[in-house]
């Protein structure tokens, strides 16, 4: 199990996936986007600045390049409809922080990262950009970013064949179904998670 689990630390992997340098794939808007976004991110990650400063610099970059709100709504699934507008608003604020926190957590672990874009294929959700990530002393990781929307943003990420947002949706819907579908309870749990985050 644990070997399998180790292949599937998807949140963590997103950070690694995003740390892209110059790619070599056939240029198209999606691969250009990934190269540009990843180039900015990798320059921050691989710098010698303290982690806290890296986090501060990375936050706005993620917020402008990852469709955090779209992913948040997807993760709530059918419970989005049953939530009150106030609950929705609160949830979006919390999700933004949860996602950004989780990603930035991982950044310290992936210094000296390099990557190359190996190609892209169209999918119903957007252009799927394949990338190989190389971390010093670690096996190469194969990841895919789904780029969609206008302007282009990251709408999902696949690591080891599993969709990040689908895993997150499973996590939340399971929590909600065990708590009577109460989005307020989910918000409280997310707040608790953020407060305990270190």
């Amino acid at each position: 199990m644990l070997k399998a689990l180790s292949r599937r630390a998807l949140f963590g992997a997103l950070a690694a996936t995003l740390t892209f340098g110059a790619g070599v794939a056939h240029a198209n808007p999606a691969t250009d986007f990934v190269n540009s976004f990843g180039g900015q991110l990798v320059s921050i990650v691989n710098s010698s600045k303290p982690l806290a400063e890296k986090k501060r610099e990375v936050l706005p970059l993620l917020q402008s390049n990852v469709d955090i709100q779209g992913i948040a709504r997807y993760c709530l699934g059918r419970y989005w409809r049953t939530a009150t507008p106030a609950q929705q608003q609160k949830y979006l604020q919390l999700f933004d922080q949860v996602l950004v926190n989780t990603i930035t957590d991982q950044i310290g672990n992936y210094q000296g990262v390099s990557f190359r874009v190996t190609g892209s294929t169209p999918t119903p959700d957007g252009e799927r950009v394949n990338a190989l990530i190389d971390r010093p002393g670690q096996p190469e990781v194969n990841m895919q970013l789904i780029i969609g929307g206008n302007p282009s943003k990251v709408v999902d990420m696949y690591g080891e064949g599993a969709s990040l947002r689908m895993n997150q949706r499973g996590d939340y819907s399971s929590y909600l179904s065990r708590h009577g579908g109460d989005v307020g309870a989910l918000n409280t749990a997310l707040e608790h998670q953020l407060n305990n985050h270190h």
Binding site: M1, G161, S163, G170, D171
Partner: protein, 268 residues
């Protein structure tokens, strides 16, 4: 001499038989646990979630997951941390090489069963090279000469044949699985040569060491990820279930789409 070998052979057969019986009993017990099965919900949205999760035995599986995580926190995690602290990286690397190499026969037969000659050839060459030039599997020489490691197990092979997965199962110390892959795991064990080594005292000790070290090493590589999973999920059980099911399906799809020629890359 002959009678001694006969005795040892019988012992090994008995041991295999007892494990098979234990496995069958476990599955039968599972099937009999009617009260541990969630009935399909009436609400259409709930029913859609229920079907997507493919986990009718969720109450039982959650109990098994809790057992696993209890063992993880009280024993496996501290042991794994100590292991990483005490054992140099090259030694840990060699242990994971041995585990991979000695699993290759099961990988080979699974590749053959799936009708994937290139993959089967790769696993055959990996076993041959690593058992000889790699000193019984201590060193992964095969990767250096172009035969990269890949995983195939009988559950994946059955998946390529179109055998349905059956409901999700969480088996303590085996991990996420389902009915098909649980059966595949048992077949995989039967295809692993170390399980057929005659049970002399020295070899028995070695076999235990091999299994325990392999397990500890596997945990050691995963502690950080498990800790993150527990910290970042509201319901780690369902996160693992979703990730594992998707990962499993993608492995089967990747194998089905592997139409590489049997000649090596350098020849083409």
């Amino acid at each position: 001499m002959d009678s001694r070998q006969d005795r040892i052979g019988k012992k090994a057969t008995r041991s295999r038989r007892s494990r098979a019986i234990a496995g069958v009993l476990a599955l039968l017990t599972l099937g009999a646990c009617g009260s541990l099965r969630n009935p399909p919900p009436k609400d259409p949205d709930d029913l859609a979630d229920y079907k997507a999760a493919n986990d009718p035995y969720e109450p039982l599986n959650r109990k098994m997951y809790n057992v696993q995580m209890w063992a993880y926190h009280v024993a496996l995690r501290p042991v794994a941390k100590a292991w990483v602290w005490a054992v140099p990286k090259p030694v840990r690397h060699s242990i994971s090489n041995i585990n991979e190499t000695w699993r290759e026969p099961a990988v080979f037969f699974s590749d053959v069963g799936a009708g994937k000659p290139r993959r089967a050839g790769d696993s055959f060459m990996r076993f041959t090279i690593n058992m000889s030039a790699g000193v019984a599997g201590f060193f992964d020489v095969a990767s250096l000469v172009g035969y990269k490691q890949h995983e195939t197990d009988p559950g994946m092979t059955m998946g390529t044949w179109g055998v349905p997965s059956g409901p999700y199962l969480f088996i303590p110390f085996v991990g996420p699985s389902n009915f098909r892959d649980g059966a595949g795991y048992a077949i995989g064990q039967a295809l692993t040569p170390i399980n057929y080594v005659p049970r002399g005292y020295g070899l028995l000790t070695f076999n235990w060491a091999y299994n325990i070290l392999g397990t500890v090493d596997g945990f050691a590589n995963s502690v950080d990820q498990i800790d993150h999973l527990e910290q970042d999920s509201l319901d780690p059980y369902s996160y693992v279930r979703s990730a594992w099911q998707q990962n499993r399906q993608s492995q089967i799809d990747a194998m089905q789409n592997d139409h590489r020629a049997t000649t090596p890359d350098w020849y083409n």
